[in-house]
Amino acid sequence: MRTVSAAETVPTTYPWAVHAEGLRVRAGRHVAVDGLDLALGTGVHGLLGPNGAGKTTLIRALATVLKPAGGRLTLLGESVDGRADLRRVRRGLGYLPQQFGFYPRFTVREFVEYMAWLKEMPKAAVPGAVQRAIDRVGLAAKAGSRMKTLSGGMLRRAGIAQAIVNDPAVLLLDEPTVGLDPEQRLDFRELLRDLGVDSCVLVSTHLVEDVVAACTDVVIINEGRLVHQGTPDDLVAQGGEGDAGDSPAERGYSALLRRHRAGAPR
């Protein structure tokens, strides 16, 4: 019998899973996202940018944790503003914050199940979805272990498991590869590619190589604004021999940032 995921309960008639126009988001008093235009559909989108570029603030806004201060933000066809009922949108979201909080006494399975409950998943679908999410991140052997006993990499994988338990239509991962060893990173890239087949996945990272290897689309922001959006090949094509970086993709990234900074108003 096929189980129904929460993601399937949200409408799929929207042209973009994520659509921002002139989006402004504050991080405290500071406007961290300032007039961002962005459209994301199905696929894996790598979000790159230097420290303080507004990546985490953007992801928090997309996760509906921060309210937009201006502009328009549409998630899964639903306009997100101060008056919106976000409950339906949130059922279709998966989110791994940069600082992943968890209940240390819970086991992995219990925590993922708890998150499935918070995501209002259909009761009958929960056990299967929990097991599937844990299997996908390779934590089946640790499903019964308490969260507090997990290593940093395992915790990150548990965080991804809770994010994907509801088969989200929009999956937001903020620095998901922190703490993963090289082998786990390779597995993670595989998982990302798999998730991106049906969902809109936005991965914030500093690791350009991960983006090139796993993403179908690259989004670069700086000072809260969109610098570049295109395929990994586009990114590679932007770099030249004189740009900083150990790989063509890193050189492309450096070149785009350099040009943006040069053209940005002082």
Binding site: V89, Q99, R105, M115, L118, K119, Q162
Partner: protein, 440 residues
């Protein structure tokens, strides 16, 4: 929801809280002041309520400790991205803490109940009401702790709340004096100390307390589940409404519980066979222990002319003052359960029955002294008076002196003097019957 409640019951502060409450509760029950609940189920229920003095602050602290979890675990952001409203998110936590404190309280009752189950037979419905109010008090405390702990998620909140809760319970009686009934409304422990054999908690007191505690719990839930200041202010409404209702329901009289007597507990229940031996219903479990010494005592007394033929429990109460009906053919016997639930002073029961035959009606000013009664009783029994725990050594010394003087007399003379004492006692005209032959 059930699975999530199960997870919370296993992984939250609930199991630890239950364990602490249970251990502290059982220790208090058995070791704080000796075993004060051996008489019966109502005494157990009231003693449990008394020990809320410590359990209530502990539940408050447990709630505050649990409330820190979300703050400590840094899950606020993650949970904020999920669709389930905060009010619903709080339900498993509230449920787990409520289940924990109620289970601990009931288990404490079971521990006490196992101690008295062989001897306590009278189980009025009000026992369940008194226990339910106690459990409700703990739920309110745990939930209030959750609410305050959420508002003030500091390490110091839980211990500070425990101290504040204890201080509150201890200060309420003084703060509400001379309106003792106000203390009864707001303190679940007030007037629960040293319950007598026929004590009870009137239904109106329980209803008023339940109204207050339910309102307090309701306000705490609103506060805990709130996500804005409006709801937090609105949380005061049920508390104020509950307090007003409780004040209206509670009779405005002092010592409302202390002076309450359960008439059914005080009713006599009697042995089926002759001679009649009756005890109060609350002591019905002790009847089989009372019958042998009572009948032995009656047999000894049968030597006297007009000897009593029945033994009834002395159901006199001093607060409020109340006496059993007076009959010349009845010996009134004070019955008390010992710490083990069985008849206290069973070894002196025969003497007590025989000496009881020389008691006078209530209000009599010319009654026989203890020494005279003991001397007469021991003469009938045929051995020298011995000191009992409750007896004044001077009374014993005088009883021995009188007993010896009786022994030196011819049997007929001694018996006549003892019979005269009995007649004088029941007619409230005691003089020098044991030491003088001229009064017969």
């Amino acid at each position: 929801m059930n699975r999530i409640l199960g997870i919370e019951l296993r992984r939250s502060a609930a199991p630890g809280s239950a364990l602490v409450l249970l251990v502290v509760g059982v220790l208090l029950l058995f070791f704080a002041e000796g075993i004060a609940f051996a008489t019966g189920w109502m005494q157990l229920a009231m003693t449990q309520r008394l020990y809320l003095a410590l359990l209530w602050p502990l539940a408050l602290a447990a709630g505050a400790w649990q409330a820190r979890r979300e703050h400590r675990s840094n899950v606020t952001e993650l949970f904020a991205s999920t669709p389930r409203p905060r009010a619903q998110r709080t339900v498993p936590t509230l449920g787990a803490m409520a289940v924990a404190v109620v289970c601990a309280y009931l288990a404490m009752g079971v521990a006490g109940g196992l101690w008295i189950i062989g001897t306590a037979e009278y189980l009025p419905a009000s026992v369940f009401v008194v226990t339910a109010v106690g459990a409700l008090a703990l739920i309110a405390a745990a939930w209030l702790g959750l609410a305050i702990g959420r508002l003030l998620p500091r390490l110091v909140t839980a211990p500070a709340l425990a101290v504040a809760g204890l201080a509150l319970l201890l200060l309420i009686p003084g703060a509400t004096r001379p309106r003792g009934w106000l203390a009864l409304v707001f303190s679940p422990i007030y007037e629960m100390n040293m319950p007598g054999a026929y004590s009870t908690v009137p239904g109106r007191a329980s209803v008023a307390q339940a109204a207050w505690l339910a309102a307090l719990a309701g306000g705490a839930v609103l506060l805990f589940a709130s996500s804005g200041w409006r709801v937090r202010v609105a949380a005061l409404l049920p508390v104020v409404a509950g307090a007003a209702l409780a004040v209206a329901v509670m009779p405005h009289q002092s010592r409302f519980v202390t002076d309450a007597i359960d008439p059914v507990a005080r009713e006599l229940v009697c042995a089926a066979d002759e001679p009649p031996v009756c005890v109060s219903r609350v002591h019905s479990g002790l009847l089989s222990e009372v019958i042998p010494p009572a009948r032995e005592g009656l047999a000894i007394l049968a030597k006297l002319p007009g000897a009593p033929t029945r033994v009834h429990e002395d159901t006199t109460t001093y607060v409020p003052e109340g006496y059993p009906p007076w009959h010349e053919d009845v010996v009134l016997l004070e019955i008390e359960a010992g710490p083990n639930g069985h008849l206290l002073d069973a070894d002196t029961a025969v003497t007590d029955v025989v000496a009881g035959a020389f008691a006078s009606p209530p209000g009599c000013e010319k009654s026989a002294g203890l020494a005279e009664r003991l001397a007469a009783a021991y003469w009938l029994i045929g051995r020298e008076p011995v000191a009992g725990e409750a007896n004044d050594p001077e009374d014993i010394a005088k009883a021995v002196e009188l007993w010896r003087s009786l022994r030196q007399l011819p049997d007929d003379e001694a018996k006549a003097r003892v019979a005269a004492l009995r007649r004088a006692a029941v007619t409230c005209s005691v003089g020098e019957e044991l030491t003088s032959s001229g009064t017969r």
